[in-house]
């Protein structure tokens, strides 16, 4: 008998602007000890589906229109709020995407962890605490008798997610719902968390619903997979059959969008060097307990970049990738070292002196939601750099903006629209258009596709490749995703703790990594099921 059986679940949101059907006629079932992966792009209804089971959707506007969800003979959808409360955190527990914001920052983690036990089991504070310490140990928190009294901000992201998992499991639930639990984490940490969930599932015979947009992660962890699109079920089946023999067009499209393979690298021996970086160091001053310390974000970095080359820069969060990128443009002035751009030294130039170089060096940022000015239309955003650098006259500027929009694949009719009227992918196209408006020779792309869905990600990567070739751009492509870097880059630099630990041609690094850290990154990157397709 299945532990959970969901039949014909439909959920809609009743807003001022009309009714949105978020989930349509979804059915699935789950045995104890099994993992169901629910995969889909943002807005596909995968989270809504699970929140509805536990009554965690804000109502209004959410309304469950039909369906049943039998969990050991109880229909969750018919339960009252107080009946559901006895199930939540007790028989069904949840972990969430962002461990930074999902733990209460005002409470010690021990206090938060024991709450499910205190409210569901009525055991003493001391026993609950002992239980929490044992569980922290089990999820791999070092020295738990001491760390149990820490606050969440004293932990790293991966450790917080471990704490979340321990808190979810403390009342020994039968079902764990994990909503994108590794999306906010670095790849090597993601690997550890997935292994932890798998191990705990076997040990406690736990059923898991694992929600993710990342097919690679789903391939690793799930037994059964449900693919959703726009609230509807697209395909359902065992993980193996889905990945080796997808039947639906959308699933095939999703699988095809996973970047794989490498770019054919042209011969660079005749190309000239555009950028020559030597001994570049960027330090930040820290003030801690009245003492001055220095944090070396970029430590003695040197590399060169050819004209027309795409150089990948990979590393985990905090490794100094973004600081290096910004230092190269003098947005964060480097502390020492030299950056020679097309024969000119740019370290030490002030912002006025930098102006001619600003035209030739541009940057694309990660978050197209935050990096575009919400009060400027596309026209304003794209025309500003043209006018500022004197590249367009009043008569020609509109024509040039329209050409730029053609270049980055935006319909000309959108010219007077504001950023909020666009999807994430379209916004990133605007941001790319802004960066290439001044016809730069060098572009730094700082995680430009990390915030995008996989099918959109593929389109943006293809756009970048097209622009690089068409304008003979040199690009520093910053990413934490090795598969993406392999798809786009000629060479790869690996950064750890502010240093470059390895630089090699893409395929050389992929097949024979030298540094331990590179090996670790590679082994965390993609599932064999996907790579061997």
């Amino acid at each position: 008998m299945p532990l959970l059986e969901v039949n014909h679940l439909s959920v809609s949101f009743h807003t001022r602007h009309g009714v949105v059907k978020a989930v349509n006629n979804i059915s699935f079932s789950l045995e104890p000890g099994q993992t169901l992966g629910i995969v889909g792009e943002s807005g596909s209804g995968k989270s809504v589906c699970c929140y509805a089971l536990l009554g965690l959707l804000p109502s209004p506007p959410a309304r469950i229109d039909s369906g049943s969800a039998l969990f050991s003979d109880t229909n969750l959808l018919n339960c009252s709020e107080s009946e559901l409360r006895l199930i939540r955190g007790n028989k069904i527990a949840m972990i969430f995407q962002d461990p930074m914001t999902s733990l209460n920052p005002f409470m010690r983690i021990g206090e938060q962890m024991i709450e499910p036990l205190m409210y569901h089991r009525k055991i003493s504070h001391r026993d609950a605490r002992a239980h929490a310490i044992a569980l922290l140990e089990e999820v791999g928190i070092r020295n738990p008798t001491y760390t149990i009294d820490s606050y969440p901000h004293e932990f790293s992201g991966g450790m917080r997610q471990r704490v979340m998992i321990a808190m979810a499991l403390i009342a020994e639930p039968q079902l764990l719902i994990a909503d994108e639990p590794t999306t906010a984490l670095d790849v090597t940490v993601q690997r550890q968390i997935l292994e932890l969930i798998n191990e705990l599932r076997r040990k406690h015979n736990l059923a898991v619903i694992f929600i993710s947009h990342d097919l690679g992660v789903i391939a690793d962890i799930a037994d059964q997979v449900l693919v959703m699109k726009a609230g509807y079920k697209v395909e359902q089946g065992s993980v193996h059959s889905l990945f080796t023999n997808p039947s639906d067009g959308y699933t095939k499209q999703l699988l095809a969008a996973i970047p794989r393979g490498s770019k054919s690298v042209p011969d660079r021996s005749t190309d000239s060097t555009l950028l020559q970086v030597q001994n570049l160091t960027t330090r930040f001053k820290l003030y801690d307990r009245g003492q001055r310390n220095e944090f070396i974000a970029v430590d003695n970095v040197g590399f060169s970049l050819y004209r027309g080359e795409v150089l990948g820069l990979v590393g985990e969060s905090g490794s100094g990738k973004s600081t290096l990128g910004r230092s190269l443009l003098n947005l964060i002035p480097p502390s020492s070292g030299s950056i020679v751009f097309d024969g000119d030294q740019i370290v030490g130039k002030n912002s006025n002196q930098m102006k001619p170089w600003r035209r030739r060096m541009q940057m694309i940022f990660q978050d197209p939601y935050a990096s575009l000015n919400p009060r400027m239309t596309i026209y304003d955003t794209l025309a500003e750099p043209l006018i500022l650098h004197g590249l367009a006259s009043k008569q020609s500027v509109e024509m040039q903006v329209l050409k730029l929009m053609d270049d980055v694949g935006l319909a000309r009719a959108y010219i007077r629209k504001y950023p909020h009227e666009f999807s994430g992918g379209q916004r990133q196209r605007i941001a790319i258009g802004r960066a290439i408006a001044t016809k730069p020779e060098f572009v730094i792309a700082d995680e430009p596709v990390s915030a995008l869905d996989v099918t959109i990600q593929k389109q943006i990567l293809e756009l970048l490749l097209f622009l690089v070739e068409r304008h003979n751009l040199s690009m520093l492509f910053i990413s934490h995703d090795l598969a993406v870097v392999r798809f786009l880059c000629d060479r790869i630099m690996v950064m750890q703790h502010g240093r470059i630990v390895e630089t090699a041609a893409t395929e050389t690094m992929w097949s024979s990594p030298h540094h331990d850290y590179t090996r670790k990154l590679l082994s965390s990157t993609a599932s064999p099921l996907i790579l061997n397709q």
Binding site: L86, T101, M107, D288, G290
Partner: protein
């Protein structure tokens, strides 16, 4: 933490110095003086008075000796209340003002926070609109209107409470406390509501609900602590304001507090009393801002590390 408090108190010294200097010279440059009134005073008498209070000396000398006095905690003699020092006047008015201030603070915190929490939990329903409309009214209505209205309704029509006085008949402290606390309660209600709404939309509230906690635990244990931080930062300076006395409320209800001294001092060009009250208020502001920062850090552990590097 102690380091932080110590350094903040050290920072207060230049602040107080600037306040004293500015006030000292501004009141001196204002036309008129303590002994120039409509009645013409015999020039000899005026000169004698000025000599007695050292007003005949050069300004810079007076400034120096005033600084010296203040460093010794002595605000000097009042010019208009003969024979009484500014220290005595403040000490005489402070108890009533402080008591009134505490009651008003109590009223504003209890009423304001309750209204704010109820409004936030029932966003966009009548339970939200009614308290928030009342809060708007409370902010808009000046004390010189609210006070007499309260007297009219509770004192004259219903005859529940005495219309004025302080500590003379039972219940005479209620109306002044309510009148003074009303505006603050209104601000607290609005701050609590927006703070709670912000916190209630946080991911960790969803986590708390997913743990199966009862709603009152979610609100009182998980949400309130973060939600009241804006209120705490508001209450620091607000309480300093309450303790320096409210001229309007004290006048309406005949409360023997500080407020009337301060206002009278300005009209009378009572130089030492103006300076004394300004310094007193500045010290209160510094102390209560510090207190509210310490309280905020106690509520928010992420701020605690920041406290060691001001």
């Amino acid at each position: 933490m102690w380091r932080f408090i110590g350094s903040r108190l050290l920072q207060a010294i230049p602040v107080l110095f600037v306040v004293i200097t500015l006030t000292f010279f501004l009141v001196r440059f204002a036309p008129g003086g303590p002994f120039s009134s409509e009645k013409s005073v015999v020039p000899e008498v005026k000169r004698a008075l000025e000599a007695q209070y050292h007003l005949d000396q050069p300004l810079i000398v007076q400034y120096g000796s005033y600084l010296n006095d203040i460093a010794h905690g002595n605000f000097g003699p009042s010019f208009k209340y003969p024979g009484r020092s500014v220290n005595e006047l403040i000490a005489a008015g402070l108890p009533a003002t402080a008591e009134l201030g505490f009651y008003a603070l109590f009223v504003s915190v209890i009423v304001g926070m309750a209204a704010g929490i109820i409004a936030a939990l029932n966003q966009n329903t009548w339970r939200d609109h009614v308290p928030m409309a009342a809060a708007m009214l409370g902010i808009c209505m000046p004390a010189f209107l609210l006070g007499p209205l309260m007297v009219l309704v509770f004192g004259l029509w219903l005859e529940w409470l005495p219309v004025s006085g302080w500590g003379e008949v039972p219940g005479d402290k209620i109306l002044p406390s309510l009148t003074l606390g009303a505006a603050y309660a209104a601000y607290v209600a609005r701050l609590t509501r927006s703070g709670m709404l912000e916190v209630l939309s946080q991911d960790y509230i969803r986590t708390a609900r997913a743990k199966g906690l009862p709603e009152y635990v979610v609100v009182m244990k998980h949400a309130l602590r973060g939600g009241v931080i804006p209120v705490v930062s508001f209450l620091g300076p607000a309480f300093a304001g309450l303790l320096s006395g409210s001229f309007v409320v004290e006048t309406i209800f005949q409360v023997p507090g500080l407020g009337r001294f301060f206002v009278q001092a300005a009209f009378n060009r009572d130089y030492t009393l103006i300076l004394g009250s300004t310094v007193f208020f500045a010290v209160l502001i510094v102390v209560f801002n510090l207190l509210s920062d310490v309280l905020a850090a106690w509520l928010n552990p992420r701020l605690r590390n920041g406290l060691s590097n001001p």
